[in-house]
């Protein structure tokens, strides 16, 4: 295997890409990693988009083969940009295929590499620009989001929808955003004040990096997280601080690396406290931060130390969470996440729910769908809706009453779908189990 100089997907732009991917069997070049797919097909039925479409083009095996063929020059990305974009952007990046795969092939990572090769945008342009401001122009981003929410409260979005303007191709995402966002979104600082959480504690126990949704749309979630993880000593709250995940998935890997560097530096200046996140997507991304620094050994070392100190809310959940006694209906865990759906946070959350709810905990079956994660609903809305409906069907089949997710955005997506089609159940973030 080491006899080969691995081919590159995009030899003209090596800096757009990761040099190697960190797999459970060691670092591998993207081409090597894709070549480890033996085409056995074990992943096929685990993939929600393949199950829905029954087409190889929307299957993990097909996606891996496309990467391999593109690297080998048998499929020209420039000539097949549209078709390959369809193939890449249809991937939920959920990691179910990796879980099913004997060789643990990281298909989601391969898709991101192919997306970077194609250099196209997955999200609608306006939404992409807006979200990219979070790192490039944080003040403007904060202003735009607040203004948007104020306009929404004033009925502007409803008016746009009534006028049919949100049916225009570039604005269709507004419909989905309006659908999933909660009707009332109290201000972050105000909500924390209400919960008596100090904004600048004397001796903080940790650093809290709120996700975008926790900060702007679900401050209740942030309050729950802080009450659970640092009830006494409080935490440094890094507001409007991007983690770099958005750039990693939808934008530029260099920008993502820069943002992670910022986090590492800032943490060093804050006394190297552990860093807590409320989004499993951010957690999984930051835990894998060292793979961003393959060319920079010193930074890789720092990233490794940083990654070891990234925590998730499951690490803090008490044995008897405050709200657990209120829940009498069956409960289940939605494994919605980016890149992988197995590992510590999932095992810990599952164990907690199993212990608390015993027979009322509903085990997920092999083919039970998860909610599309991290904004997939804005990328391929039609497919996302069908995947989400599959999740609702399985929730209804098992007569589940509460579904816990490990990210706020997934909770919002799933809750909207449940309200429409199975209002008996509701979705919430796992952290809300404690208040």
């Amino acid at each position: 295997m080491s006899d080969f100089r691995p081919l590159e997907l995009d030899p003209l732009h090596p800096k757009r890409h990761l040099r190697t991917l960190h797999t459970p069997f060691g670092p591998r070049a993207v081409y090597d990693s894709a070549s480890f797919c033996t085409r056995c097909g074990s992943c096929q039925q685990a993939c929600p988009t393949y199950v829905l479409t029954a087409e190889e083009t929307f299957s993990p095996r097909g996606r891996n083969q496309a990467v391999r063929l593109a690297a080998e020059g048998k499929l020209n990305p420039a000539q097949n940009k549209e078709l390959l974009s369809r193939l890449v952007n249809s991937c939920l990046l959920c990691g179910r295929c990796t879980q099913a795969c004997a060789g643990k092939i990281p298909t989601a990572e391969h898709m991101l590499e192919l997306r970077r090769t194609l250099n196209g945008r997955a999200l609608p342009a306006l939404l992409h620009t807006l979200l990219s401001w979070r790192s490039r122009r944080p003040g403007l981003f904060r202003f735009m989001v607040r203004a948007g929410l104020a306009l929404r409260r004033a009925g502007a979005v409803r008016l746009l929808r009534l006028m049919g303007l949100t049916r225009l191709p570039g604005l269709a995402w507004i419909n989905h955003a309006d659908d999933i966002l909660p009707a009332r979104t109290p201000a972050f600082a105000k909500r924390l004040r209400q919960a008596k959480i100090p904004a600048a504690p004397q001796d903080p126990a940790l650093i809290y990096l709120p996700s975008l949704e926790a900060e702007f749309f679900m401050p209740d979630l942030a309050a729950s997280v802080l009450q659970t993880a640092a009830p006494k000593r409080g935490a440094h709250i890094w507001q409007n601080t991007p983690s770099g995940l958005f750039e990693y998935v939808y934008g530029n890997v260099r920008q993502s690396r820069r943002l992670v560097k910022n986090l590492i530096r800032r943490r060093e200046q804050t006394g190297k406290l552990p860093l807590l996140t409320d989004s499993v997507d951010v957690y999984l991304f930051l835990r894998r931060a060292p793979q961003l620094f393959e060319r920079w050994p010193r930074w890789q070392q720092k990233a490794r130390e940083f990654a070891e100190h990234v925590l998730f809310i499951t690490d803090f959940m008490p044995k008897k969470p405050a709200r657990a006694a209120e829940i009498a209906s069956p409960v289940r865990l939605d494994y919605s996440a980016l890149f992988r759906r197995e590992g510590e946070p999932f095992a810990a959350a599952q164990k907690t729910l199993k212990t608390l709810f015993k027979k009322n905990f509903v085990e997920c079956l092999y083919k039970d769908a998860d909610t599309p994660a991290f904004g997939y609903g804005f990328v391929r809305h039609n497919l996302a809706e069908r995947v989400c409906m599959d999740a609702v069907r399985s929730i209804a089949r098992t007569q589940t009453g509460t579904v816990f997710t490990l990210s706020g955005l997934s909770a919002l997506e799933l809750d909207f779908c449940l309200k429409q089609f199975y209002p008996y159940a509701k979705a919430d973030h796992f952290a809300r189990l404690n208040g």
């Binding site: 090597d32 096929q44 039925q45 087409e55 099913a100």
Partner: protein
């Protein structure tokens, strides 16, 4: 070949504009399966429903466009590669389970239905579908029939071939056929099993479902050598203990598995068996006692029963992880597949290990010990050409060694294109000719999955023909003489079922020798002219039992070919026959599994003498009495289009009994 634009236009009309794709990305992603073969088709047709299959095939036939039926494409033989280009028919959308009937014990499914989904649907009802290929979570039931797939439960329950009751099938010319095991005549479902899409497209299946075992017990046993483990399995068969599963692995496999899955397998033993018993608690207890005795007699090092369900799952997790344990080591895992008579397994495995060592190849050995079916799992990197060539060559040598041990080149993975050349090593020219003629009968334009199964230009390379026995030679000469003189040939045995008043019938009675009663492999080989009474006496003397009626009338050949004992077909492992042109074909032997080539045993079963004269059969026997196959009254079976086409190929002068009636479509 390039598909004419007029054909594409018509195909779009038949299947829907959005379902016919010719873009580079789609075509590249339908160029492969789980083997090393990769050939891009010229079009991809996503078949939207069952009804669309026949019109699509008619268009392809009209323009002579080759096609490859494809579902999950998990086969290891290159069966889904479009070697001649043409169209790939993607059948994965036909994935519905249409009906489950627990009262009568069947399920009706579309060919793209996934085996695991059927199991999931049956489990809450307390039923299961017996064939369990390792890839059952992803492979489709149509694909299972086309490849004649089987798995760990094969020793007790048999492969896919024995679990399909009915099948809807479309010939390459678009002609619909319905095959049912109740219809009489040749067992065409058996002929489809392992045909790899070369005869047409399966569009619907009715499969047998069974009540799930309530009590199961699993054991892990280790042995000082592979020979001891195989002897254990033979001894179990001799005692009449038929485990539900018998899986075996060598030391390399157990070490790789332990490193990866930590299933608690002892790594110091040369061989390891996982055995599973099912039945009533009393039956399991009695079998367990015998099992333990036999294992200890064969110097078992450790005998570990799983104490609870968690331990049982742990043992099976290790077995299932055997592929994964190798897959993480290199980009490619080539899973070989050969089957030998059980008694030959130690010799075959020793040969395989030697070939692997000589070629400096790292591979593990897994085998379904009860069936004599083994799978070397070779890890390599196909991007390294010399490496790939070495592995391919070694695999060919392994298959040849397998044939030399009286085995077959495929037990359950099929032939496809990867083992096509070795078919000539296994079969002689008349047998390969018969395969060609069957293919030509169903698919005269050679458009259904062409260039698969049958070796190219095999006349020179085919296995030399074995000399015939004097009686068989005399019959062959007789047939040739009659053919030259255009004299009708009416086949008869004891003239008890297919009663004939013909003056000079072609009698199988001279073939009245019981050639072999093998109490290691538990098989009998006998001439077709042996009467059932003579057979029962001989078996009685040896204290073994068969499914055939002890007081049955007529001959063995008659019992097989008349269609009166359909329950006997799954027990027939090998057949030899004289064709209407006087050529002599040989298929199978003391093999529990054979997925190499068309299943000739099933073609001649129930053929009522219309396709030739069956001269010799090899079939299963048992150490304990077994329920006898029910005997049906003889009646001429109505013919279907495929039977007529095969008969026209084999007997163009129609000298053997003509076909009558019309089977329902």
């Amino acid at each position: 070949m390039k598909i004419p634009s007029a054909a594409l236009k018509k195909l779009k009309q038949a299947a829907g504009e959005e379902n016919v794709l010719t873009d580079a990305v789609s075509l590249s992603l339908y160029a492969y399966d789980c083997s090393l073969s990769r050939t891009r088709p010229d079009a991809l047709i996503n078949v939207p429903n069952q009804e669309a299959v026949a019109p699509i095939l008619r268009i392809l036939q009209e323009y002579a466009v080759p096609f490859v039926p494809r579902a999950s494409a998990t086969n290891h033989a290159g069966s889904c590669a479009a070697l001649n280009g043409g169209a790939v028919l993607n059948l994965t959308r036909l994935n519905r389970i249409l009906q489950i009937n627990t009262q009568e014990g069947f399920a009706v499914v579309e060919p793209g239905a996934v085996g695991g989904d059927l199991q999931d649907a049956l489990a809450p009802l307390g039923f299961f579908y017996a064939p369990d290929p390792a890839s059952e979570r992803v492979c489709t039931l149509g694909g299972n029939l086309a490849q004649n797939a089987s798995g760990a439960r094969c020793m007790k329950y048999g492969g896919t071939i024995d679990h399909v009751l009915e099948a809807d099938f479309i010939l390459p010319d678009g002609g619909p056929l319905h095959f049912s095991r109740r219809d009489g005549g040749p067992d065409f479902i058996g002929l489809l099993a392992g045909s790899e899409g070369t005869l047409g497209v399966i569009t619907r299946m009715k499969v047998k479902i069974l009540p799930a075992a309530k009590h199961i017990k699993t054991f892990l046993v280790t042995f000082p050598s592979l020979a001891h483990s195989v002897q254990t399995v033979s001894d179990l068969a001799a005692k009449g203990v038929i485990p539900r599963c018998v899986e075996a692995m060598d030391q390399i496999t157990t070490r790789a598995v332990e490193e990866f899955a930590r299933s608690g397998y002892p790594t110091d033993a040369q061989a390891l068996l996982i055995l599973e018993l099912d039945g009533t608690p009393a039956q399991i207890a009695s079998d367990e006692k015998q099992l333990e005795e036999i294992c200890l007699k064969n110097q078992a090092l450790k005998f570990i029963p799983a104490k609870n369900e968690a331990e049982r799952q742990k043992l099976w997790f290790g077995r299932r992880a055997a592929y994964a344990a190798m897959a993480r080591l290199a980009p490619n895992v080539m899973v070989g597949d050969g089957t030998v008579p059980r008694s030959e397994l130690p010799r075959a495995l020793a040969k395989v290990r030697r070939i692997l060592d000589d070629n400096n190849i790292y591979a593990s050995l897994l085998f379904h010990a009860g069936d004599g079916n083994f799978h070397p799992q070779i890890v390599f990197d196909e991007r390294n050409k010399p490496d790939a060539v070495r592995v391919t060559r070694a695999l060919k040598e392994i298959l040849q060694a397998c044939v030399d041990c009286g085995g077959t080149i495929s037990g359950e993975h099929g032939v496809g294109v990867e083992k096509r050349a070795v078919m000539a090593y296994q079969y002689d020219k008349p047998t390969l000719d018969l395969f060609t003629r069957i293919k030509r009968a169903a698919d005269p334009k050679n458009i259904a999955n062409p260039l698969k199964l049958i070796p190219l230009a095999y006349a020179e390379k085919a296995r030399p023909q074995q000399p015939l026995s004097a009686a068989a030679q005399q019959l062959a000469d007789n047939i040739r003489t009659r053919r030259e003189a255009r004299v009708p040939c009416t086949v008869t045995g004891a003239n008890t079922r297919l009663k004939t008043a013909a003056e000079h019938p072609l009698s199988a009675r001279p073939l009245n020798q019981i050639l072999d009663i093998d109490k290691t492999n538990y098989t009998v080989t006998a001439g077709a002219g042996v009467t059932l009474a003579e057979l029962a006496q001989a078996l009685g003397r040896e204290n073994v039992y068969s499914i055939l009626p002890e007081k049955g009338k007529g001959t063995l050949g008659g019992a097989f070919a008349s269609g009166c004992l359909p329950g006997f077909y799954p027990h027939v492992l090998g057949v030899e026959a004289l064709l209407p042109d006087g050529s002599y074909v040989r298929y199978g032997g003391k093999l529990m599994k054979n997925a190499a080539g068309y299943n000739l045993a099933r073609l001649f079963a129930g053929s009522q003498g219309t396709l030739g004269l069956v001269t010799q059969l090899t079939f299963k026997i048992f150490a304990k009495p077994v329920p006898k196959a029910p005997e049906l009254p003889f009646q001429p079976a109505p013919a279907n289009a495929l039977w007529r086409a095969v008969k026209a190929q084999l007997d163009p002068e129609d000298l053997f009994p003509p076909l009558t009636g019309d089977a329902r479509v």
